[in-house]
């Protein structure tokens, strides 16, 4: 079985203390839409942090589905938000560009 580089969990960022400097210097965090957090796999500091924040472990596929749901909703909202006579450039200026898909890594 191939080694995984990352593990995923869902945890709500409560603010101060959610990620400490002492944790950030040991492992790399990557936050994604839907309160999905990516941290290194097979790493005791990552495991300690997940326990601290009461993270709910997710497989990569499960995490991907959560992220996809948020992005799909944002894309649908963007697609549906139109003003009569507005050019694509004007829409980009008004709303920002259309949200892009995010692909999580194993």
């Amino acid at each position: 079985m191939a080694n995984k580089n990352y593990q995923y969990c869902v945890a709500e960022n409560w603010g101060k203390g959610f990620i400490e400097h002492s944790e950030s210097t040991k492992i790399t965090f990557s936050g994604h839409p839907g309160n999905v957090w990516q941290v290194p796999a097979n790493n005791k500091f990552a495991n300690l942090w997940i326990n601290k924040v009461l993270g709910v472990p997710k497989t990569c596929a499960e995490a991907q589905a959560i992220v996809d749901a948020v992005i799909t909703k944002a894309q649908s909202d963007w697609d549906a938000d139109n003003v009569d006579g507005e050019t694509s450039e004007e829409k980009d200026l008004r709303l920002g560009t259309r949200p892009l898909d995010i692909t999580l890594e194993e």
């Binding site: 080694n3 960022n13 409560w14 603010g15 101060k16 203390g17 959610f18 990620i19 400490e20 400097h21 002492s22 944790e23 950030s24 210097t25 040991k26 790399t28 965090f29 990557s30 936050g31 994604h32 839409p33 005791k44 948020v70 992005i71 944002a74 938000d81 450039e89 004007e90 980009d92 200026l93 008004r94 709303l95 920002g96 560009t97 259309r98 949200p99 892009l100 995010i102």
Partner: protein
Amino acid sequence: MATYREINGGSIQNRATNPSNVKEGEVWYNEDTGKLRYGKFTEGSPTSASWATGGNLNLGRFALGGAGTQTAALAFAGLDPNYYYGETESYNGSSWTEVNDTNTDRADVGSNGTQTSALLYGGRKSPGGVQTTENESWNGSNWTEVGDLNTARQSLAGAGADNTAAVAFGGFSPAGPTSGSHGETEIFNGSSWSEVADLNQVRNDLAGTGIYTSALAVGGIVGGQPPSSALTETWNGSSWTEVGDLNTNRRDLGITGSQPNNTAAIVFGGQIGFNGPKTAIVESWNGSSWTEIVDLNTSRYDLAGGGTNTAGIAFAGRDPNPTTSTEEFSAATTGVDTITATSIETS
């Protein structure tokens, strides 16, 4: 009995020297010393830069203004994405508190200053997202309208130590006699703005830091056309000079510098290309070149920042939805943990 290879999935590597980037638990054979070594976790050594979470804003938004320091910051105005805000929040190093609103709700603004002395200028406002010249001054308690910019524009940048002196530059206006990207540079003297020079490259959605006589203009979209830019220009109080480019071109990035000059700064986040992915990449400016350092914990763009290049703060933005998240930057932390190469003792 299982072999090491069967347990670990690989054999121990022979290395001429210890690896430079040791991982905790990593094992190797040092051919030079003839000893097995492993990565050992050790308490109490200096380490490099990091980002930690700070208190969450009360209102998620992007394209807002920011001022102040890591322990005394101010967030104001912004967007969500069809509603323009005037909400102002004050940060004490751990939590944000709502204070008095701006007079005009708006987004994609220029801003500078401190938690008790800030300026908010330009941007776009409701109805219709029309560009504005309006300028407001914050005295720690209230926003007061003061002298307007000469050129209405959104997505501009600014620099200045407080509400008595500032420089505003760049921006965009989609219609009218001054439509397109702007290079106009205006200086504020505490009561009125004067146009004094132009950026070398007209652009919008850029970042700025410094003071009115020594500022930095970074990234953005040149001429309103894709892709985004890596360009950096320094301001000496009378003219702009092109200097070293960012490693990663981007728009709608955050920035904080080391006042009172343009010789030290960090940029963070942003959107790569014109409509590319959001990024967590952070780069540090030493007065002549940019170096990539530790990433934000959450990639985002259209965010705001404050503080210095060694103790910065990033807040709000879009990921792609409006976020309340705050992150605090520390350039070097002492008394924390590191991993070192250590000999394995054998009996």
